[in-house]
């Protein structure tokens, strides 16, 4: 979190984390497509030719003034592919809240778990833990046939009982609820610690 009293700005960094192709970029694209132009900046995507995120996506959004202060949210995604491990680590620098976008398809369960462990490992290096850090889960791709039950996903992934949401990011289902929840978690976390 970065607070600039001269400009009355409060900046938060939210990172979308998750296995490859789980829909992290799609979440940002949906948010970008729906917000009023006055409240959003450009969506920048560093992608490969195959449309896979190679480094990150970035977008800044605002919600106007709250008690004279201007909160700004810097949204980032990380590349999901296993071999981009070091990019994932650096994007977490200064992170305030995390959205873990899980893929609901049964054959992606292992990838979800592996990425969650990778996240925990990266957080540990900055002295954070998944147990105390503000984060939420989105179970994406709920519309796909054969999607794993939410109960099964909860059991395997949500061991700290963080807020969780069902999502169909391509249609926008669950996208804003997820974002609202992570922002709330961050704000609650700050309040609890002051």
């Amino acid at each position: 979190m970065f607070i600039n009293w001269a400009l009355q700005e409060i900046n938060l960094k939210i990172v979308y984390y998750g296995p490859g192709m789980s829909g992290k970029t799609t979440n940002l694209e949906y948010i970008h497509s729906k917000l009023d132009p006055s409240l959003k900046g450009d969506l920048v995507s560093l992608k490969t030719k195959e449309d896979r995120t190679i480094f990150f996506d970035f977008m800044q959004i605002e919600v106007g003034r709250i008690k004279g202060k201007k909160p700004k949210f810097n949204l980032y995604t990380v590349p999901g592919q296993v071999y981009y491990a070091s990019s994932r680590k650096v994007i977490l620098n200064g992170v305030d809240g995390i959205v873990f976008v899980a893929d609901s398809q049964p054959h992606r369960m292992e990838a979800n778990i592996e990425t969650l462990l990778d996240l925990e490992n990266n957080l540990k290096q900055d002295n954070h833990t998944l147990e105390s850090f503000p984060w939420v889960i989105q179970y994406n791709k709920r519309d796909l046939p054969g999607a794993e039950s939410v109960e099964a996903l909860q059991k395997r992934l949500n061991f700290f009982n963080v807020p969780s949401f069902e999502g169909i990011a391509v249609k926008g289902d669950g996208v804003f609820n997820t974002l609202k929840a992570v922002i709330n978690s961050v704000v609650q976390n700050v309040q609890n610690q002051l």
Partner: protein
Amino acid sequence: MVQTRKLKDGSRQIILNGKQYDVITKVLSELATKTKASAILFADMSGQLISQRGNTDNMNTTVLSALAASDFAATSEMAKLVGEEAKFKLLFHEGEKRNVYLSNVGDNFFLVVVFDVSVTLGLIRIYTKKAIEDLITVLEDTSSDEGGDDNVIDSDFSTLLGDALDDTFK
């Protein structure tokens, strides 16, 4: 000193007061005048833009800061791979019309100087070095410490923010 507060969960809060912001902006203005740089940005390593000077109207400086921070991050990984133990201190991108000179300011901040190819790199180097010293002085100076409104993020704030989010995301 720029206040850096560690929360219990390990996350970091950086707080800049009005006086520090003014001094930082003044240092950037001087650097802009002396070097005739097109744009100068001061940001933190997480990609957060703090202050800017020069002709930045047609430049998306928010995104530029985010990209510059990842530029540093990527090259520090590169440093490890090639056996350099410290991080690379400066990065230089040479174009046909414009060049970009990036240099770290302490461990947590950096400067981005965008300039026309007609300006010599030596000039940029000399004045940037001086500006970095000045910035480090500001960042470490404790005399200007003043308590901001510590409890700005209270329950009232979160309720209002919740409403604003509902409104924005409808």
